[in-house]
Amino acid sequence: MGKRKTAVVCSTSPEEDAGRKQGSRSSSSKSFAAARKRTRGGSSQCGVGEISDKPPSRGAEAFARLSEDYCECLQDFPSTQGMQCSKGNELWVDKYKPSSPAQLAVHKKKVEEVKNWLRERLIASKEKFGNHVLLITGQAGVGKSAAVRVLAAHMGAELCEYSTPTPTLWHEHVHNINSGLSYRSKLDEFEAFVEKIGKYSLLSSSNAGASRKATIILIDDLPVTNGRVAFGRLKKCLTALTRFAQLPTVILVTEYHRTDNVPTSHFEELVSLLERAGAYKVAFNRLTVNSIKKVLSHICQEEKRELPSIQIDQIAKASCGDMRNAINSLQFWCLSPDNLLISYVSNSMDINSRVLSDSNKLSPIVGLFGHEELNCGTDFSYGRDETLTLFHALGKFLHNKREVMDQIGLELESLTLREKFERNPLKMDAPEKVLSQAYGKARPVTDFLHENVLDFISDGAIDDTWLVTSYLSDADCLLASSLLSHSSQKLTEMDDSQRVSQPVAASVAIRGVLFGNKQPLSSRWHAIRSPRLWQIEQSAQHHKNKLMVERFYFSNGFSLSLSQMVTDYMPSIKWLGSHTTDDNGHEKLIQCITTDLIPPADNFSSNTIESTFREKIEDDEIEDW
């Protein structure tokens, strides 16, 4: 199709792709066609869902008519893409979509919360409610959209989804330009959509017939923005939406993992913005392993496949709280049931699990080792790699949780250490593994540890403090050796020893912190600060550059070294500057120097790193991991 139309497809069934349930499909297509007809009339009263983005030119209208006919033709065909997969081996993710609120895997309270909100809005939609926007956040695959769809169906409300226009390809764009259509960015279209919602929502519901069902608008897909300006527009747009929306509107926002190379501050900014604008926020938590297991075993029953419970357990664990992923994994696992290998593996795992469960009862330590073995031994070929946020990982390192002593003394008899070297086993994976999960780089991790570790050392333990700081000092030396290659910005030239020194330094820093802090403070709430050092370095560099330039002018043609200047000249000049003199020559010189050289004190505080990191940290509580 040459012409792309942004249309909102109305559907009562949870999915609008021409797929399965015949009844719902036909109804949805009807409403679709109805919507089209209205547009054809060229009236300015478009339905809620529609954004007519074309200028009222005749050619375009004719073209639109053509394309509509084409669409209708298409719909007379029994489903086009949906067909192939609907023959028996449909994806289980779609097949076992929750159909009632009870089936949702999300915590009941959260479901209830959403439900109440929707009910309030739907019943009392005539009355003035402060806000009509619900914001649902959560990780990918927790079932945000599923929950909204199910609840809407359950309450008999109609769900109108803003479907994002398909992105334009470049050659399409060229083609469009030739045919006289101007390009509109997705953001433009979204803006137009929001504007329409504000204006026409009431009209449409009165317009579309007397016994119209209540409507809920769902925005699942906010346009991607790039750059400050675009993001600013999106923000403005969303604020307007929350202010002026007259129908209950649900916005879904997927929560991403914060890693240091992905700028996801947008996500947080958006959420806080919407909240400030008056949207009601419901955060869906990560699914628990148990709830995933329940769903998985339910599916197994339905499919009449017998899977060892340990298997389901593992799939559930490997999915990291992502239901979609878990179901996909399950289907993948069940794809070839005759495969001998699988039964073998599951058998062995059965045994393994039995051993495990026995040993678990015996002592927690064996359980710990066994657990580790399990993790490395039967690595899945699927499932998501677990990721941690950097703050999460740092929290683990800093809190330094360890197993309780006593039993270990007997277990590790063969390995006797002197008392001062003895430490209880860690309550986490190997620190290097944790670090790799957080995608931590050596330098920032070391800096973060350095900044924060002092807060976690108990008050009298100055010896421990020294131990920790000396390890950090070692780590810094190791890092410095890889500095050269770094600053020449030729990573390919980095030779092996340097490549090794980075992770080694990180390891030294982390293990130093873990080992050195013998009696960590009992866990309590701590905010992790971003290293103040970064800010200090920046302003020191700034200051230094200034001095470098100035120092030659300083004493007419007599170059000074930086340290001389800073240690001898500057203090006296500052001092002279603070005491007014009767000597004119003095004053002039001092004034010109002091104004040029000494940066105002608040220069230091107004720093970019500071402000961006503050936000990140404030809401990052690491209480108990």
Binding site: D447, H450, L454, D455, S458, D459, G460, A461, I462, D463, T465, W466, T469, S470, L472, S473, A475, D476, C477, L479, L483, L484, S487, K490, R532, L533, I536, E537, A540, H543, K544, M548, V549, F552, S555, N556, G557, F558, S559, S561, L562, S563, Q564, V566, T567, D568, Y569, M570, P571, S572, I573, W575, L576, H579, T581, D583, G585, H586, L589, F604
Partner: protein, 355 residues
Amino acid sequence: MLWVDKYRPRILDKMIVHEEVAQNLKKLVSEQDCPHLLFYGPPGSGKKTLIMALLKEMFGPAAEKVKLEQKAWKIDAGTRTIELELAMLASTHHVELNPSDAGFQDRYIVQEIIKEMAKNRPIDSKGKKGFKVLVLNEVDKLSKEAQHSLRRTMEKYSASCRLILCCSSSSRVTEAVRSRCLNIRVNAPSAEEIVKVLEFIAKKESIQLPPEFAARIAVQSCRSLRRAILSFETCRVQQYPFVMNQAIPPMDWEQYVSEIASDIMKEQSPKRLFQVRGKIYELLVNCIPPEIILKVKLLSELLKKLDAELKHEVCHWAAYYEHRMRLGQKAIFHIEAFIAKFMSIYKEFLIATFG
């Protein structure tokens, strides 16, 4: 203009301190053949003054007409080109620069500049090929590689250029470079010499300077002539005519360091260490070199208040972490480790003696 600059002797004959050195230099230059020179001595002893006076002796007043050049260098280093910008002071006869400003790329700078200077060497009035002088400051901060390349280029281009190196400690200059230069040690001036200079300035400014007060300034200056003159000037601004017990304002950062030292002595805990860290950051922001904080000031402040039996150990650790600081990248890590170690030692000592 500050007095330090105003009363800086411009020619070798007017040197008040290091007269002997100045006379020797004069003789050296008058014989026309000047070897490479290496000046070394503590800060504030007059190395640069000597060098400038020497240059004037060699080239006449033209050496004083310097201009600042911010020169961009493009250096071809095999696989890549390095682009650097370095400020330098240049007259027609000499170029002065701080190669260590270029950081770890200093070796390229050293080679490249000398090469370029050798290319276009000046011709003197008699048509004889003369030589240019390259003044390199802070040679002790050059990396080993740079010093090595310095050694080679010194030999290769010795016909067309002379090097004058300047550093505060010759121990960090490699033997090879040292042996190719005439080493000139510039001592820190004694208290009497400082007093002499101060009296000279007082006479020129027609100020009454009581000899006791001059002596006090001299003592407090730690034998740095620059420091002495600067604090003399601040005293003059602070109060004149001088009174006997007038306080000599200390350098603000030094005062700050001694505050840190007393903080450390008062309490030994992670919390205190954290506070101290904040104070050290303050110093670092103001570009006070970390070595100076640790070695020169903090250690001496701590030692002042310390029991004799601990001094040895504390010195050992200070040296250890100063070395670490050179190996490492971020000074604060090492300074902090030293402070933590000191706290640990000191606390142990306190518990042992007072229970």
